[in-house]
Chain length 190, copies 2
């Protein structure tokens, strides 16, 4: 039936249950404290199944964070709306599932996670920076500044859970952060 793509396996339900439980645990506990035993218990299967389907803990993590970021097309954004669009996009990405939270938690204590995070943010922000910033050579720095503000908000809001940052509404957040990113991207170098 599924000729060209992948053969549908009978264990697909288990596999996705494991992945869902893994994402939840990684997001809540970080890499070390998210034990395979706990994940397996959440998925209501035996720990050894995790090993069979994902090889080892690193493989499970890699599969759990293999997300598809729907990058906005740089060509379709008005230059003046760049900051606003970016903040909106990131907030959506962050709140639609726990993958990015998991990645942030793990990236802080795990080298592979840090690299993946770096890759994601490079791919997200660099093209946009290249499109709008005055000097292309400055694009990496400007993109990194944007990443620092976005990641900082995610950190205080979704991980450390600072009261005021959690209470901030979505639109409020956009209004506060958008001008910052806009300046990092387009302003003359200070």
């Amino acid at each position: 039936m599924t000729g060209t793509t992948q053969q549908a396996r009978r264990s697909d339900a288990t596999r996705t249950a494991i992945l869902a439980a893994a994402r939840e645990r990684f997001a809540a506990d970080g890499y070390e404290r998210a034990t395979i035993r706990a994940i397996a218990k959440d998925a209501a299967i035996d720990p050894s199944m995790v090993m069979r389907y994902y090889g080892n803990k690193e493989g499970l993590f890699a599969a759990a964070i293999d997300l598809d970021l729907r990058l906005p097309d740089p060509a379709e954004i008005t230059v003046d709306d760049m900051g606003r669009t970016l903040v909106r996009h990131f907030l959506d990405l962050w709140e639609e599932n726990e993958v990015l939270t998991a990645l942030l938690r793990v990236g802080v204590t795990n080298a592979a996670g840090a690299e993946r995070m770096q890759d994601i943010f490079k791919r997200q922000t660099l093209p946009l920076a290249l499109r709008v910033c005055p000097d292309p050579a400055e694009a990496p720095v400007r993109a990194a500044l944007c990443a620092s503000q976005v990641l900082g908000l995610a950190l205080t809001r979704y991980v450390l859970r600072f009261g005021p940052a959690v209470g901030l509404g979505r639109d409020e957040t956009v209004e506060w952060l958008a001008p910052t990113l806009q300046r990092y991207l387009t302003a003359e170098r200070p």
Copy 2:
């Protein structure tokens, strides 16, 4: 000799060696992967000494991050220089030792660490926000926004080690971030 204060113990050298090793390990590895055994080995003593002097791992961590933040006096800062002063102060604090890096790494996977971090940033930024922001009721939000940018920079620079964020010079960083904090503190609510 030391009558009023603390009696000087013969083991003080060992105690500080343990603390130094602990800070290094916590900053480099996070809470879980910084094992007592590894810390003891770095300090060239037996793991059981750590237990005797600091009770348990949590006690050791608490002692390791018991830092003194030299808060700038709000009354002595020009309102217009508030952003610049804050960024400078945080950069200094972050680069003079590894305590804050350790705290950030641990705060992400450890509830006690997160609380301590929250406490530090409340105490650092709230008084300044209260002094300069238009409406005192908005001070917590404005302080949290400042915290998000500062922590975001620390995250990308000292923990995730994004290339461009690491390469950014101190003065450059100040010039980029200061206007952001200034706006978060003093601008009209967007």
